[in-house]
Symmetry: C6
Amino acid sequence: MNDKRVPTGIRGLDDMLSGGFLEGSTALVRGAPGTGKTLLSLQFLVHGATQCDEAGLLISFEEFPLSVHRDAQSIGWDLAKLEKRGELHLLFTSPQVLMDNLTSPESPLSRLLLRSDIRRVVVDSVSHFRKLTDDALELRKTYNVLTNALKREGVTSILIGEESRADYVRVEPGQLSYVADAIVLLRYIEIDSAIQRGILVLKMRGSDHVKEIRRYEIERGGIQIVGLFEGREAILRGTPHRVQAGFPPQ
Amino acid sequence: MNDKRVPTGIRGLDDMLSGGFLEGSTALVRGAPGTGKTLLSLQFLVHGATQCDEAGLLISFEEFPLSVHRDAQSIGWDLAKLEKRGELHLLFTSPQVLMDNLTSPESPLSRLLLRSDIRRVVVDSVSHFRKLTDDALELRKTYNVLTNALKREGVTSILIGEESRADYVRVEPGQLSYVADAIVLLRYIEIDSAIQRGILVLKMRGSDHVKEIRRYEIERGGIQIVGLFEGREAILRGTPHRVQAGFPPQ
Amino acid sequence: MNDKRVPTGIRGLDDMLSGGFLEGSTALVRGAPGTGKTLLSLQFLVHGATQCDEAGLLISFEEFPLSVHRDAQSIGWDLAKLEKRGELHLLFTSPQVLMDNLTSPESPLSRLLLRSDIRRVVVDSVSHFRKLTDDALELRKTYNVLTNALKREGVTSILIGEESRADYVRVEPGQLSYVADAIVLLRYIEIDSAIQRGILVLKMRGSDHVKEIRRYEIERGGIQIVGLFEGREAILRGTPHRVQAGFPPQ
Amino acid sequence: MNDKRVPTGIRGLDDMLSGGFLEGSTALVRGAPGTGKTLLSLQFLVHGATQCDEAGLLISFEEFPLSVHRDAQSIGWDLAKLEKRGELHLLFTSPQVLMDNLTSPESPLSRLLLRSDIRRVVVDSVSHFRKLTDDALELRKTYNVLTNALKREGVTSILIGEESRADYVRVEPGQLSYVADAIVLLRYIEIDSAIQRGILVLKMRGSDHVKEIRRYEIERGGIQIVGLFEGREAILRGTPHRVQAGFPPQ
Amino acid sequence: MNDKRVPTGIRGLDDMLSGGFLEGSTALVRGAPGTGKTLLSLQFLVHGATQCDEAGLLISFEEFPLSVHRDAQSIGWDLAKLEKRGELHLLFTSPQVLMDNLTSPESPLSRLLLRSDIRRVVVDSVSHFRKLTDDALELRKTYNVLTNALKREGVTSILIGEESRADYVRVEPGQLSYVADAIVLLRYIEIDSAIQRGILVLKMRGSDHVKEIRRYEIERGGIQIVGLFEGREAILRGTPHRVQAGFPPQ
Amino acid sequence: MNDKRVPTGIRGLDDMLSGGFLEGSTALVRGAPGTGKTLLSLQFLVHGATQCDEAGLLISFEEFPLSVHRDAQSIGWDLAKLEKRGELHLLFTSPQVLMDNLTSPESPLSRLLLRSDIRRVVVDSVSHFRKLTDDALELRKTYNVLTNALKREGVTSILIGEESRADYVRVEPGQLSYVADAIVLLRYIEIDSAIQRGILVLKMRGSDHVKEIRRYEIERGGIQIVGLFEGREAILRGTPHRVQAGFPPQ
């Protein structure tokens, strides 16, 4: 991890990250279903492949690779084309096989990372690691092995974390939040009788970052940061209220 | 899943869905008892059968088929007539038998889907899959098998999810919300000392959708979207309050 | 279940139910202790027996039949007289014996229902069914058997559900709320430093119904619906607050 | 249970109870430690013994009888004198022994009730019955046996229930609230930066009662009802707030 | 327990207690870490030893006696000097050994109490009794044995209870709150963006007491009661809010 | 522990601590991930090594020492240089090995502390001690052994505690909060639609300290205390609201 920035290609988010993730760092992107975690991560890979000449790898534990293609296609990206060009690699595996690969320097994965000069990795999602153990400390150890292996390869990575409910800042089993270098939260936020989405960079080790909760939308072309949430309190709880005339007068 | 729309026949909801569900997609419709999940799903099937020339299949795990007929009848639909014409099929089975069928290409269900050219499927309700396993990851795998099988058949489907309490956005065991392409929430909302119902499209993979929470009523003829919830905060918690004069002045 | 109405005899409630429960339907009446669930149910039976020429049956799992007589007596009904005339039957049994009876066409209960031409049944309370099993799905199956048996007999029935705390809409173990055709909630509501009672018809399959939460009192003669809860928010949480001057101005 | 009233001797409370408990009824008095449950019950016994010529029995499961004497003495009652005169009986026993006694007509307790013409009984506290069983339904059965036995003896009784936290209306394990004829709640209520006490008659089978939450104090001479809680909302939650200027204007 | 008062030496607290604890009574002092429970108790012992000629005993279950000396020293007391003079005794033991001692009249502890004419005892903290048993009723019995033994010796005692979170009134496992004669609560309270401390006498058997929540500080010389919390609501929840202009106007 | 102060080098924090931690004391620093617990602790060690001529030791249970170097480097400190000069020692071990060392006077750790004249110690993090036992009392004993050993060596130490959620004051398993001499809380606080950080000295045994919650930022050069949170209520809950015009007028 050095001062070099790895831009996500989401301009507003890169602004929030002071230019992008730090090279070699591991970011945790957490959010409830539908908040766009996978899209954000794909955008990160596609941007690397098409704009930065950095090959990417998506490691998924779901069993239906077509849905990833559809997700990408729905906002206008052709992953298959990137795959054919060797700019993007999709790996559908299990947490156990991934861990076995990561801890063996001669594994197919290690060879792939090396041979294809992979610079960006996404793991979708780390929630599947709970399959490996029920024990919180064992899980923490697993997360350490995972992030250390990714660091050893020198890649910049996003770990997707699934949130089961919309609440305040909370640490998941295994406390991956402590291991990750950066934490990005995606939230549903009810504003004016509608559901909007908010993004927050909660933590970024070794870098300044924007502290504001910003509004984003998912559109053709990907995620767009579109504004702020002004005049509201308790945004992170999901159902904020308008700030009332206060004391002392502001 | 392509760009073709499969309208539900509930005009206001089709507006919220930008024309309807995407063909081949799987939607999760969640709500507490009495919010009208089954009615919404029947309306989806009846509309397909009578207006779009698309045969439908209702898979139910409850043991008393008459209640489905009564539900439909109560808002003016004659399911028996549609059944006789082969435009609607009702299947009363168990989760285990359904899964066995879905994983076997020569099963009676597969033959039915093929032979009758079923285009729309409703599963009422996915909560019964918890019978099959206590393990959250095993359940998730089951949901994957289910949705993949439905996709393989090319049908557009609604999975009904039973909510046990009215709260904020929450993920059910097995995290079906991550597997589903679209999520529609039905809610009781207390307004002006009365119980109203609200509908929200929380997520729709590969499509734009309305983000507002809208008010609906269950009437003869089915579900009607009838308006908005203006000037209220925390609607998704079920007991919203009026927005108060705020700061900065609006 | 058809369009014929079975009035409860509580005029305000019959108004809320668009005339009464639907014939052959099963209603779940839920409330905390002291909200008057048993009284409401007795009133339903007494009204049937004395005003509609419909014999009634109260099935109770408590061990002290005198308390039912006292309850009734306290608001001015003489159950013993109705029993003597064969217009009312009181059955004190166990959940297991009831289930055995319901699943056997030749059982004493079946003969009673037939011989006495019972048209209305009350089960007080379904909470005792939890004695039969710890398993939520098994319990749900039991509830299905129960309601299906009641439907098969063609009777209109009330199932009493005991709530252990006053909160928002919540589904009990076994999810009887999904099985019942109608749900009526009874609630304690703190208004102006006193405890009042509120009633709400949350769901009514196949019928329109009033959506307002209405105020009722327990008086000599039975339950009386006496008004509304105007200008209050969050009534269903039990401790509502006055609506404040809001935005936009009302 | 008939229409005859058994006054508690606490004038304000007797007003709330329309004159007193109904003869032969069983009341549950619930409250957190220090709210005065035991004092209220002793007052009930002392009033019966000294003003109504009704002998009383206090059944306690605690092991230190002196504390009861001290409690009484602290507000000016000499229990020992009443004991000597045979107007008051103190029984220190265990739940198991009590149950054995209650279910045997020839038991020492039965003989005591008969011989001494006991008319009022207090059980302090029913929480100790949880010693007998972990099973909620078994506990409920025990409560039924207890209250039925008390009724069979024709006595008017108070069962003391210990609340472990101050919240809203909640049913304890074994659901004694359903078995009791009357429920009286004692609460700590924070008003104007001080702790006050509030009393509420939540339920009274077969009788009208005051629905207001009233303020009481513990003084020499016993419990005194001293006023209301006007202009406050959510009193039952323990930390009420002032009613704010509302809509519609009041 | 008689009418004689045992002053704590904290003038403001003695005012709240109508002069002090009752002689022979057992008080429970509960609070979160850092609220000053141990200091309050030491002040009670030091005041007895230096101002009232009453020897004191501190029973501690922690393993490092120096910290007690440091605590005392930090606010200006020299416990070692008091120990040397026989006015203060420090006993570092285990719950099991304490219980064995308390139930044996010939134990070293009993001899110490007698020989040294101990009048005041502090047990720091009763939370350690949970080591003895997991069973709530067994724990309650243990607390009864403890308090009865202290009463039998005629000493006035403080039992320190550790609270694990700041919330409303709550009963700890074993329900010591019911056994104690007095309950004193210490709380953190956020006021004007700072943490203050509040003290409340929740219960005092056989005595009048102040009901207000008062503000205190820990200073050289010990605990000082320094004022009230005026114009705030929900103080006991720890994060109170200013009272707003209410209805009816106050 | 005496009156000598051990400054952290964070000027605003030293002001809050009346000059620094007390020599020989053990402070618990708690916070959610990203609040800067490790940075604060490193700053404490670096300041000691470079400004006070006090050698420091960081004991870590994580497996990747490089991340500590990176953390430090990111805000401008070169730990390796300090290590080379013998002013800073980094020890990567396990809780079990640490405990074995601490309880043996001849252990390598003891020799290191002695030989290198270590004056400041940081343990990152105490959450790993839960690996040693599931039992809360056993854990408490472990914490006692740990803090007593640190005191015996005469070092001033910081124990890092990981908080899993942002809420109010809460005691962790094993109740280290009772054992620690000082407690410092780090919090995320949502203000004006952005996430800020707040620091509070909750407890400081034997010393006066600032009670205000202060705002801090993490910048190049380390943690900076930058201001207050004025005009807000419920700051410690993480989502404060503006103080409203209150009663009585302020």
